[in-house]
Each structure stands twice: as structure tokens, then as C-alpha cells.
């Protein structure tokens, strides 16, 4: 049923429909509305049987999920940014043990400097942990991906992280077609674990594996990610058949068939980029947009195929690898390494900086005209940069960079004292 609903609420209610049995809650902006809503749903008795546990840290949140999942319960939690880092040991652990935990990652920048707004640096920090990472473009997709995530996780015995842009999606009220319980039940059977803590059939889970077998264990997990590449589109198809809409899958192509220039991105920014593409199309430029949904496993073949006709590819991403360059763009470059095209990386939206349609159009114009450098930061204030560089060169004790910049910008806090 279609409702005007906040993104977090839509996710919470959809997750509840998936009948999780153990929910772990530790608050961090911008995930709080998700766990608050779920807390109320459980406490009201609407979702039962379910244990909603207020844990003492994110590390505990993932740990409790691990214990619950290993004992055969469907487990769910949510976090962001700093919280993801705090639980990172357990994140790797869950993947290594092959426990089908589903977690919502309300993408948020990682400090220092502390910043509560959206970018993708948190998801990137965990990209090698062995989790499946799916990026939602809209609140509808965010909700739908959770249903697919539980099924995917339990089919493959792998944990799945559903990424949705913090504040932009989580706190936006949009029209979402909320699924019905019986449709979800039909799509998502009860959890049947691959391994189980059972006193009547005891096993030891979590052995220490040495050099003689560690590589094989890791390779097996790699193979399972490749299995996921096959499974994801199949599930998306099943979902479409059951719920009547396209959601999920490996990637979404928008006007890419004849495109000369294709922009690649993750998450909610795709909406703005599509508007920009439409505007440029109207002026005769053949521009297309590739939205990648499954970031891990990375769909090399599908990406290469989608980009095969283009002459230039611009990757717009909300994260970067300090000292190296783009993250998503590197993956895209790997996928297209033997294709004859030019690849450009545009870092944008860090720490929640707004990405405007006009900026994208302007950037694309530069790209088409060949003026775009290999790596650029969108809408960077060069003045601030130059002043801070000069300050650092001038005195040894130039002070904390963030505070200096804020003072430059004349923000309220910096005016005090």
C-alpha cells in the first residue's frame, strides 16, 4: 500500500515484516529512527516473537547478532559511520563465519573531523570484510532491498549490508509502496541455518585455522560472493514477479544503450544525475547513467557490458581513498580495463555537501569538452584551501585545520571566543 512515509520508518516496518527474531539496537545518527521504530513495533507486540535488545555499544550489537544467528535466529541490526568502525572486528567475524545477518548502514561520513551527514566512506571502510553490500537509490528501493537481503543472506550464508544515504534517504518523507505481510512471508521462508549451536548435535564453531587451510577458507568465501553475483539478479526477478516492481538486481541502466558519456554512481545521487542527464540529452548530448546496486560483490562483467558502448565514463563518488584517489572508480576501471574509453573520477558530496543538478551538468559539459581532469573534487572552495596551506606553511603551530576552516567560513561557533 502506498504511503507517505519517512525512509527510516519504511525500512523499519519492512524489516519487521521480514520477521527478525533478534534485533540489536545501539543509537547513532542518522540510523536512530530505524531502531526507534522497530523498538516500538516489538514493544507493542506487533512483531512477536522477537527480542529487541538495547546493547551497550555497536561492537555489542554485531556480537549479539552473531550469537543469535549462530543459534538459528534471524538477526538484524543497523548502524553508521563511527559505529560501523567500532564493530568492525565483529563485522569481519560475521562474514568469516558465514552468518546471514542483515544490517542497515545509514551512510555517514567518518571523522575526524566528526560529521554526521552523508557520504559513503563508512561503507567503503568495510568493503573487504566479505559482506554483500547493496546500495539503495530511493526509499522504495531501500525498503525492498531489505526483503531481498534476508533471502539472499540465508540462501548464501553470507551477511548483507543495505546501504541507504543518511538523512537524504533516512529522514526524507517519500511515497513508498509498503508491502503486505503475506507477500513477504511468501517470498521469505523461515531461516534454516547451515550450521547451528544445538546441544543435541554439538559442534565447535570458530576454529583457529592456520596456513594449511586459511587460503582455502578465504577462497571459498570468494566463490560464495561469485555465487551471489548470480543469485542477486535471480532474486530481483522473483521480487519483481511477487511485488510487481523492479528493485535491486546488480545495477540499473538509464539511457545507456546509445550513450557516448556514461556517469556511474551509487545511491541517492543517481536521482540528481539522471535529471542532469536528461537536461544534456535535451541539448543533443548522448549521456547515460549507470547506477550500481550491488557494490559487493562487484559486478565486473555487467559493468563492462553496460559501459561497452561509451567513449567516456565519469564516476561520481561520495568517498575517496586518501593518498590514492577514487574507490568506486578504481573498481570501474578494473572492470573496463581493456575497453577503449576515458575514465574520470569526480569526488562529490563528502560530509553531506549538496550535489546540485547544475554542478553535475557543468561538470559533464567539461567532461564532454575534454576539460575534466582525471581526478577532481566537485565544488571545491579553492580559496579556503589556499589560505589554509599558506597558514600551515607559515607557522609550525598553525592549529587544527577544521577549526581554521570553519573560522574562515565564518560559522557561528567559530565566532565565539
Amino acid at each position: 500500500m502506498r504511503r507517505q512515509i519517512e525512509g527510516s520508518r519504511a525500512v523499519a516496518e519492512t524489516v519487521a515484516l521480514c520477521r527478525p527474531e533478534v534485533i540489536c539496537a545501539y543509537p547513532i545518527s542518522p540510523q536512530t529512527h530505524i531502531i526507534e521504530a522497530l523498538g516500538a513495533i516489538v514493544k507493542s507486540g506487533q512483531l512477536s516473537p522477537c527480542e529487541f535488545i538495547n546493547v551497550e555499544s555497536e561492537f555489542a550489537a554485531m556480537s549479539v547478532s552473531i550469537g543469535a544467528s549462530a543459534t538459528g535466529a534471524r538477526a538484524y541490526t543497523a548502524t553508521a559511520s563511527q559505529g560501523l568502525l567500532f564493530m568492525i572486528e565483529a563485522v569481519y567475524n560475521a562474514a568469516g563465519l558465514g552468518l546471514p545477518i542483515v544490517m542497515t548502514l545509514a551512510n555517514r561520513a567518518i571523522g575526524a573531523p566528526i560529521n554526521i551527514w552523508n557520504d559513503h566512506s563508512d561503507a567503503m571502510a568495510a568493503r573487504d570484510a566479505g559482506w554483500i553490500q547493496l546500495f539503495a537509490e530511493t526509499n522504495q528501493e531501500a525498503a525492498d532491498l531489505h526483503i531481498q537481503a534476508f533471502r539472499l543472506a540465508e540462501d548464501l550464508s553470507l551477511p548483507v549490508m543495505v546501504c541507504m544515504d543518511g538523512f537524504i534517504l533516512t529522514h526524507a518523507v517519500e511515497s513508498v509502496d509498503m508491502p503486505e505481510q503475506m507477500d513477504v512471508d511468501a517470498f521469505l521462508p523461515p531461516y534454516e541455518p547451515r550450521q547451528l549451536l544445538d546441544p543435541n548435535d554439538p559442534v565447535s564453531i570458530g576454529a583457529m585455522v592456520g596456513p594449511e587451510a586459511f587460503e582455502e577458507v578465504r577462497y571459498l568465501s570468494y566463490l560464495r560472493q561469485l555465487d551471489a553475483l548470480e543469485r542477486i539478479p535471480v532474486l530481483a526477478g522473483e521480487f519483481a514477479a511477487s511485488f510487481g516492481r523492479a528493485s535491486g538486481g546488480l545495477l540499473h541502466c538509464y539511457r545507456t544503450e546509445d550513450a557516448e558519456t556514461i556517469v556511474v554512481a551509487l545511491g541517492s545521487v543517481l536521482g540528481t544525475i539522471k535529471d542532469a542527464a536528461d537536461a544534456l540529452r535535451a541539448t543533443g548530448q548522448r549521456v547515460g547513467v549507470l547506477g550500481i546496486t550491488s557494490f559487493r560483490p562487484f559486478p565486473h562483467d555487467a559493468v563492462r557490458d553496460a559501459l561497452s558502448g561509451a567513449r567516456r565514463v565519469v564516476v561520481v563518488e561520495k568517498a575517496f581513498s586518501v593518498g590514492f584517489g577514487g574507490v568506486l572508480s578504481t573498481d570501474v576501471a578494473m572492470a573496463t580495463h581493456d575497453a577503449d574509453l576515458s575514465l574520470r573520477t569526480v569526488i562529490a558530496g563528502l560530509g553531506g555537501r549538496a550535489i546540485t543538478q547544475r554542478s553535475i551538468e557543468s561538470m559533464l559539459a567539461d567532461a564532454i569538452d575534454g576539460r575534466l581532469e582525471a581526478l577532481t573534487f566537485l565544488d571545491l572552495d579553492q580559496g579556503i584551501i589556499e589560505r589554509e596551506r599558506a597558514r600551515m606553511a607559515g607557522t609550525k603551530r598553525s592549529g587544527p585545520t577544521a577549526e581554521n576552516v570553519l573560522r574562515d567560513l565564518g560559522t557561528v561557533a567559530s565566532r565565539i571566543g
Binding site: I53, F59, A60, S63, A70, T71, A207, M208
Partner: protein
């Protein structure tokens, strides 16, 4: 004719078993059909106190729960020596958590069991002193505060043994470890205020807290059994000597634990809801020197260049424990053929 007009069993109170004692009154360990939760083939050092303590505790828990037990184990000696691929020596359902989150993982296990309606399956979480007192403390406190249905067992060998004997928050004063070497004017670990986990657990107001050692099996088993009578968070702190880390002979492991108790350095007691309910009295009082001098980690306190002043300070700690817990109370029951019940 097997009638027993006399309730005196030679060694029945102290030894593992005795043919004269009724089967129901014997220890779990004396039973040939005990569950052997931790079985042979593990890679613990010769004379490992933790291997012994773990089997004692878990076999008792298995009997108390009718075999319906799941164990969660933090990283450390116990986990490493028991589950090196391809061999596990655990015969119970067992999950290795990480280093600092055994209590939280156990919380998850307990929650899942509750959701599944498996009320009779009980959960034990276990970790060494490092995993309990230091890195695991946050998760432990959270588990206590929520009163999750988990019995947490700390096997205390007073240092990070598995990584090579480094100091932990449970390392006693003056003890040598690899990160508190016996050099300088304050050799060994410094004299701090310690971190009294049992009393911290009591401060959380949980139903049951107890300490025990591997030297008193009857007491340890009774405490595990008692713990399993409660639901909610419970804590058991077991002293398990480490011959390697303590520098004691492998055959002396139980003797070391006994002396720790008999000197007063390791008070053995029980508490419910934050109040001490019982204390294990010292049977044959021993000055700390007898205990310390048998361990290489205290060797620098004796002989040439020894530190009797430090020994005296340690004695003062023991004396304070004896006074605080009343460890030298006389046993009230007299022993004789008519009255004796030993």
C-alpha cells in the same frame, strides 16, 4: 551389607570421590560417565589449570542442565588450545566469539533460545582474565545490566598467557610478566588498587556471584550448580594457575590454587544480589611466602637481592582479605562418629 551407620568418609569431603560415599553425593568428576566437555587431545601445556577448570565447570553445568548447554568462548588460551583446525576437544555445542565480546555473543545466543522457546537450554560464556577484566569489561557490564540469562565464567590465571605472559588488569602486584619485568626499583607489576571483578559484578546487583579455585572441586561444582538455579546474569570467577606463566611446576597446579586460598590472597566466597552469603574458610593457614616462593614470577622477591618489604606488602593484602571476608572462622561442626558429617 552396605549400611553406613557413620557419616565419615575418609576423604569424601576433599577428594574427587570415594567408594564409601553415596553416588548422589559424589562429585560430577568422580562419575565415569561425566560429559568430559573438554576432552583429551587439546594442546594445553602440561598441568594447565585452565583446562582443568574448564572441564570442571562445564561438566558440572552439563549435569545441572541435563546436557542442554551452549558455550561461548572468548579468544585466549582456552579457545586456542582447544580448537586448532582440524581438531576440537569440545564435546559441547561451542562458539568462539572474539576477544572482547564473549558476554555479548552469549547474550545473542540466550536471546535466540528465548525466541525459539527453548527455555531449558542454558548458556555459559567463558573467557580468561584479560577477556573479562580488560577488553571484555564493557560487554560484560552491558550483559549484567540487562540481566541476560548467561552464566559468565572467568578463568583467571592473572595475565595474558596465550600471547606470552603479558600483564592484565588482573595481574597481582609484584608479579613478573613480559610487560612488567622484574627489574628496577619496583620489580614486577606495580602495586595498584587492583580490579576486583567479583565485587564489580556484585555491584551490578546480579543474582549470583561466586569465586572458586581448581583446588576445591566440591565447592566449584556446587557453585556451578547453584548458579544454574538462577535465571539472569551470573558470574563465576575461578582461579586457574598457569605453570608456564607463574613459573611453577606443572604438578603443582592444584597446590598453587590451594595455597592461594589458604594464604587469603584469593578469597573464596559466594554472593547473591550484591551481598556476600557464604565464605570458604581457611583450613590450614599459610603465610604468603610459602605460596610466592614456589613461583618463578615472584623469584625476584627472594634470595640474594630479594625484597622482603614487597613480601610484607603482599602479606598485608592477604591479611586484609582475611579480615574483610572473615576467612579464619573456626568450623562449628565437631567431627566424631556420632556427630561427624564429613
Amino acid at each position: 551389607m552396605k549400611s553406613q551407620p557413620v557419616r565419615f568418609y575418609q576423604v569424601g569431603s576433599f577428594a574427587v570421590g570415594n567408594r564409601l560415599v553415596d553416588k548422589e553425593e559424589r562429585t560430577v568428576q568422580s562419575d565415569a560417565s561425566r560429559s568430559n566437555a573438554l576432552d583429551s587431545g587439546h594442546r594445553a601445556c602440561q598441568g594447565c589449570g585452565e583446562a582443568l577448570g574448564a572441564r570442571y565447570a562445564l561438566d558440572a553445568a552439563m549435569r545441572a542442565t541435563g546436557g542442554q548447554l551452549i558455550a561461548v568462548n572468548a579468544t585466549g588460551c582456552l579457545e586456542v588450545f582447544s580448537t586448532p583446525y582440524p581438531e576440537t576437544s569440545w564435546q559441547v555445542a561451542w562458539l568462539h566469539s572474539l576477544f572482547g565480546n564473549a558476554p555479548a555473543v552469549a547474550t545473542g545466543v540466550a536471546a535466540a533460545l528465548k525466541v525459539k522457546g527453548k527455555r531449558d537450554v542454558r548458556v555459559v560464556a567463558q573467557a580468561g582474565d584479560g577477556g573479562t577484566v580488560d577488553i571484555g569489561f564493557g560487554c560484560l557490564s552491558g550483559m549484567f545490566e540487562r540481566n541476560d540469562d548467561v552464566l559468565f565464567i572467568c578463568y583467571d590465571n592473572e595475565a595474558y598467557m596465550n600471547t606470552g605472559v603479558q600483564r592484565s588488569g588482573a595481574t597481582p602486584p609484584a608479579a613478573r610478566t613480559a610487560t612488567t619485568e622484574a627489574i628496577g626499583s619496583e620489580p614486577g607489576n606495580s602495586f595498584g588498587q587492583g580490579k576486583d571483578l567479583p565485587r564489580l559484578a556484585m555491584a551490578h546487583g546480579i543474582a549470583y556471584v561466586a569465586t572458586a579455585t581448581v583446588a576445591d572441586l566440591h565447592d566449584l561444582e556446587a557453585k556451578v550448580e547453584r548458579a544454574m538455579e538462577f535465571h539472569g546474569a551470573r558470574y563465576l570467577h575461578i582461579l586457574v594457575p598457569c605453570p608456564l606463566g607463574w613459573g611453577s611446576a606443572p604438578c603443582d597446579t592444584i597446590l598453587m590454587a590451594r595455597l592461594a586460598h589458604e594464604t587469603g590472597l584469593f578469597p573464596v566466597f559466594e554472593a547473591e544480589y550484591g551481598v556476600v552469603t557464604a565464605v570458604s574458610s581457611i583450613r590450614r593457614y599459610t603465610p604468603v611466602e610459602s605460596y610466592l616462593s614456589m613461583q618463578g614470577r615472584y623469584a625476584h622477591l627472594f634470595g640474594e637481592g630479594g625484597r622482603p618489604d614487597i613480601v610484607a606488602r603482599i602479606q598485608a593484602i592477604a591479611d586484609r582479605n582475611i579480615s574483610t571476608f572473615g576467612l579464619l572462622q573456626e568450623s562449628v561442626v565437631g567431627v566424631g562418629p556420632e556427630t561427624g558429617s564429613q
